[in-house]
Symmetry: C2
Subunit: 221 residues, 2 copies
Amino acid sequence: MTSGRQVTKIDVRPEWWDNIFAPSSCLVIITTVDHESRVNAAAFGTCTRVCHDPVHISFACGAVKDTARNVLATKEFVVNIVPFEQEILDRMLVCGLPFKAGINELEKAGLTPLASKTVKPPRIQECRSHFECRVAWTQPWLHRVMICGKVEAVSVDADCMDEKGYLVWEKAKPAHYCGHRYGGMFVPVYNAPTAAHWHYDGKDEEFRDDEDWRHAYSSTR
Amino acid sequence: MTSGRQVTKIDVRPEWWDNIFAPSSCLVIITTVDHESRVNAAAFGTCTRVCHDPVHISFACGAVKDTARNVLATKEFVVNIVPFEQEILDRMLVCGLPFKAGINELEKAGLTPLASKTVKPPRIQECRSHFECRVAWTQPWLHRVMICGKVEAVSVDADCMDEKGYLVWEKAKPAHYCGHRYGGMFVPVYNAPTAAHWHYDGKDEEFRDDEDWRHAYSSTR
């Protein structure tokens, strides 16, 4: 457990699921199980929210990795969003070591499994939010496989979501992976969310008939 | 043009392409052309580097959007990485307005096309790096389509890459999209790249035989 953090996990209403995967791609640990219910956990920098409604999440994975094998066998996975906190980033790297199949990386890394609501793979207590997924489709190519899951349940640390269902960025602290060539380097992706502003002297006839272009970026907030 | 920025675009050697798409997912504008060579440009928060070698990039798109239609028709697209700079973020939102097919969003937004090296869609001068792609595969589902491209050429602003082919984070200033429900909000994803550190009292027999687990995260730097 992270030092002293005692926060309740709460279930997120389906209409707020899309708000909680933010930004649209961030650092995650994905948990899966094999046919003998043995847990596997691995970190991914390729995990992205790819459909708003119904919410779908995709990630790319080496085709021979335990994660790919387990997902193809069981059709389930859990996406756990990793906070930009040194202790958890450090433990995440242990998850990523090339352990043999059947070894539980959570135990090796000192991370805590927490039963999921709708699927067999566990959530990870130390992560801030959790997306329980069932496979929608998979696409193998070269030595890789793209996996896309439909979200079935979402939960979040109580202090990371406000009363209207939006992420509390500075508590959730989403992170991202700098990339393979940068070694074990990560960036915070929650600092100073900033609005862009647009101005266009438009004519209605330039736009698609069924689109309200003047309100294209209205927040639902 | 961004105020006063006069930087040469340089071609990136193939062995450095993977370094330059960093972090592994970030905010982009994707340019395409239709069969009459009319340019389309749209911003995406779902664009991710999904294979290191050869470098592949994927993104998800509404199936009826001009981008999807153009990519399916021509098999080409260019990924332009957007810097976290107010003026460009603001213009990017104009690209995202629901213009009719055949209208050139770059003209409407005041962004500058620059001929690509290997494909028909243009690069965008104001963006920091550019990934020219040919379609590897597409996967339609629901009202969406996932598009995955093999990278054919990469170019970058000269001041955004160091002499060893690594990204100069504070010049490139990659950004990300907070998400649909947050309106036109963006986060910087280049602040303070930070190393994680791992320690594991391991035994070789816990690890796959062909893996050098002690050097699992060695940077190539």
